[in-house]
């Protein structure tokens, strides 16, 4: 078999020379975006909202950038890194001008490698793993949303302000979660909070009853519930059955907002505390316009996934448009250090050193909706300035 491989490889060599010789550059008549988001599986709800937010960003500029129409192809990554890589590879083979996505950090990290190899700009608006703009940072990838470090900082500050004594940690079992648990286990005691137990739960677990019961019986007065995707609704709904929110101070990262409240229902939602990456009540012209456009198109308020996706996409497209040239490298140079004073979350600065956006962090608590329209609304409990959360660039 090895004989035929080497012979055929020689033939391949010849043909490759021929093929390579007649590769020609083609004129750009569209700006092609590959939207790689999970539309099914545990993260399906995230991806769908990301798609909606980004769609508003594209539509509000008339579907054009640099004077050419934007062509966006949304690919369902099925909450699977395997599938995402397959679709990303195909998208890059198609010759796209930028990649948008993904939701899962694992997948984003894998896509980053491809984007770097192919030199395609890559905008991340959800994945929070520190490595994306830390150890694994790349020239071609930017994150316009929060990272884990700032979310954890907000969570720790909130826990401290609540005067909690004992904390139980329920953590989604994936790489970010494992890192997060380590951070919480070291940092909480420094704030005078004892960690009485940590439980790792596989993503997609359908029954949280036992785990939540363990937390309840641990004697802890606080619960750090860090779960993702559909597991948020599952755990909170099952928590509602045993009055979890009344017995413990439950807090988490992106654990609760108005959309989530509709899925979980009032009973399981009220009193749940969570970081909020974006909130539709933000008082600015751009945000009012965005919320109005979103409500008109989709008939509901934009959630954090949609808001962050809109923000990243519109920021990037504005920057690309301002360069006036069809040159990926020029876009990247322009985005580095770019300042967004009119983002839907207030001021954002794209750090040139690590491609992480500097921004505020919010922490909210779910309360019953005074108007009675929604099960709950989020009340901003704490707000943290960028200076408190970020070390300056070196």
């Amino acid at each position: 078999m090895s004989f035929s491989i080497s012979r055929l490889a020689r033939q391949a060599l010849l043909a490759a020379g021929l093929v390579g010789a007649c590769t020609a550059a083609h004129a750009q008549d569209t700006f092609r975006i590959a939207g790689l988001v999970p539309l099914s599986g545990a993260f399906g709800i995230l991806g769908e909202n990301m798609r909606r937010g980004a769609t508003i960003a594209i539509e509000e500029r008339g579907g054009e950038v640099l004077g050419v129409p934007i062509e966006v192809v949304w690919d369902d990554t099925e909450t699977s890194t395997q599938v995402a890589i397959q679709k990303a590879t195909k998208a890059m083979a198609r010759g796209v001008d930028m990649i948008f996505g993904e939701a899962s950090s694992t997948t984003t990290l894998a896509i980053m490698k491809l984007a770097e190899q192919r030199k395609v700009p890559h905008i991340v608006t959800l994945s929070a793993d520190d490595r994306i703009t830390g150890a694994d940072k790349s020239r071609y990838t930017f994150r316009t949303s929060n990272n884990v470090a700032m979310e954890v900082a907000a969570l720790l500050a909130f826990a401290k302000n609540q005067n909690l004594e004992k904390m139980y940690i329920v953590m989604a079992d994936y790489s970010v979660g494992r890192d997060l648990a380590k951070i919480l286990e070291t940092e909480l005691p420094k704030n005078g909070i004892e960690v009485v137990g940590t439980e790792f739960v596989p993503i997609g677990t359908s029954d949280y009853a036992i785990i939540l019961n363990k937390a309840l019986e641990s004697g802890a007065d606080g619960l750090s519930l860090v779960v993702v995707g559909a597991d948020v609704a599952t755990s909170l709904k099952q928590g509602a059955d045993v009055g979890l929110g009344e017995k413990m101070t439950v807090m988490g990262l992106m654990l609760m907002d108005e959309t989530q409240g509709m899925v979980v229902g009032e009973r399981g939602s009220v009193g749940i505390n969570s970081t909020l990456r974006y909130h539709h009540t933000q008082d600015s012209d751009r945000n009012r316009d965005f919320v109005a456009a979103f409500v008109e198109k989709y008939g509901e308020l934009p959630n954090q996934y949609a808001g962050e996706a809109y923000d990243g996409m519109s920021w990037w497209l504005d920057t690309v448009d301002a360069t006036g040239v069809f040159d990926k490298e020029a876009w990247i140079d322009a985005f580095e250090g770019s300042v967004r004073d009119s983002s839907v979350e207030g001021l954002k600065v794209m750090r040139a050193c690590d491609h992480q956006a500097e921004q505020v962090a919010l922490f909210g608590t779910a309360v019953p909706d005074p108007s009675g329209e929604l099960p709950i609304v989020m009340e901003i409990a704490e707000s943290f300035e960028a200076e408190e959360l970020f070390a300056p660039c070196e």
């Binding site: 033939q11 490759a16 390579g20 890194t81 590879t89 083979a93 990290l109 079992d173 994936y174």
Partner: protein, 314 residues
């Protein structure tokens, strides 16, 4: 089985040649990516069908051999720093060794129970690889940056070049499998499928024959897994999912088992249907399902039966 140039073999060769000739017609990179997937899954489907269609051994756990091949290649090239050839050899070895283990464990189990056993062993392997061997497998995150080959000054990171390479490997797989099927071992395996009892009476060691079938199938599956890892430059335990085993079974049966052309046709049809349907309708998945159902009812011998007709010499 007297002629060497059976119609089935000729069709399979024709399909390989068609694939190899694709770069002459188009230079669209995403087409090559699709074709690369077809080539790799064809190898996997042929490997599966060697077990099911030739050896009569049903397996729901072929994903294990496939994934171990991908990981074997990754370990060899990334951790041990070995070359492409050695990586493939490692993949083949990993696939074959696990297949032998499955065969030995399930020595006394046959039929549907063996199929269920393979499923459970694959699941067990998947869980152990995700939770216990996190260090070697990257856990749920998988391992990114799996290398493609480097030799002869060719840039195999170009989809086209890589496609040529794997299409040539597919051709080699088809030829070696055909030679194997016609060899005394292949004839014995055919006898095993037709009537295990009789094969035993004639004096074959059927237990050893079953092991041979499994290890050969595992080896080819491992090869396919390695190539997929190299194509995607990424491996993860998701390769071990029972859906992977289900997909390869569907593809092989759709195309027609017990043939060389069938699995290749099945994979081609599956991937093309997926590609074409998904570009026209959001509901391609369901349409694919209906297509399967119709094919199973009306073309139980697979799509290949349209080409082979009642050709007995296949």
């Amino acid at each position: 089985m007297t002629r060497f140039w059976t119609r089935d073999f000729l069709i399979a060769l024709g399909l390989c040649v068609l694939l190899l000739a694709a770069p002459l017609v188009t230079r669209n990179e995403s087409v090559f990516f699709l074709l690369s997937l077809i080539v790799i899954w064809s190898i996997f489907a042929l490997a599966f069908d060697f077990c099911f269609g030739r050896g009569g051994i049903l397996s729901f756990g072929h994903a294990a051999f496939f994934a171990l091949g991908a990981y074997g290649y990754t370990w060899a090239t990334m951790d041990l720093g070995l070359g492409f050839g050695a990586g493939l050899a490692m993949a083949i070895l990993c696939g074959a060794v696990f297949a032998v283990i499955v065969g030995l464990v399930g020595q006394r189990v046959t039929g549907l129970y063996f199929a269920l056993l393979t499923l459970m062993l694959a699941q067990l392997l998947a869980i152990i690889m995700v939770t216990r061997l996190r260090r070697f497998t990257g856990g749920d995150d998988g391992i990114a940056g799996v290398p493609r080959p480097m030799f002869g000054g060719i840039d195999f990171f170009e989809t086209v070049n890589f496609f040529w390479l794997i299409a040539a490997i597919l051709l080699a797989v088809v030829v070696t499998m055909h030679v194997l099927n016609r060899s005394p071992l292949g004839q014995a395996i055919a006898g095993l499928k037709q009537n295990e009892e009789r094969a035993r009476q004639i004096g074959f060691n059927t237990a050893r024959l079953r092991l041979a079938v499994l290890s050969i199938s595992g080896a080819y599956s491992g090869l396919a897994g390695a190539l997929l890892g190299a194509l995607l430059m990424y491996v993860s335990p998701q390769l071990l999912s029972w859906k992977v085993s289900g997909d390869v079974l569907i593809m092989a049966l759709l195309g027609g088992t017990g043939t060389l052309a069938g699995p290749i046709l099945g994979v081609t049809l599956f991937e093309l249907l997926k590609e074409v349907l998904s570009s026209y309708t959001e509901y391609w998945y369901g349409i694919l399902g209906i297509t399967f159902i119709l094919c199973t009812i009306f073309l139980p011998k697979g799509v290949v039966s349209l080409l082979l007709g009642r050709d007995k010499s296949r």
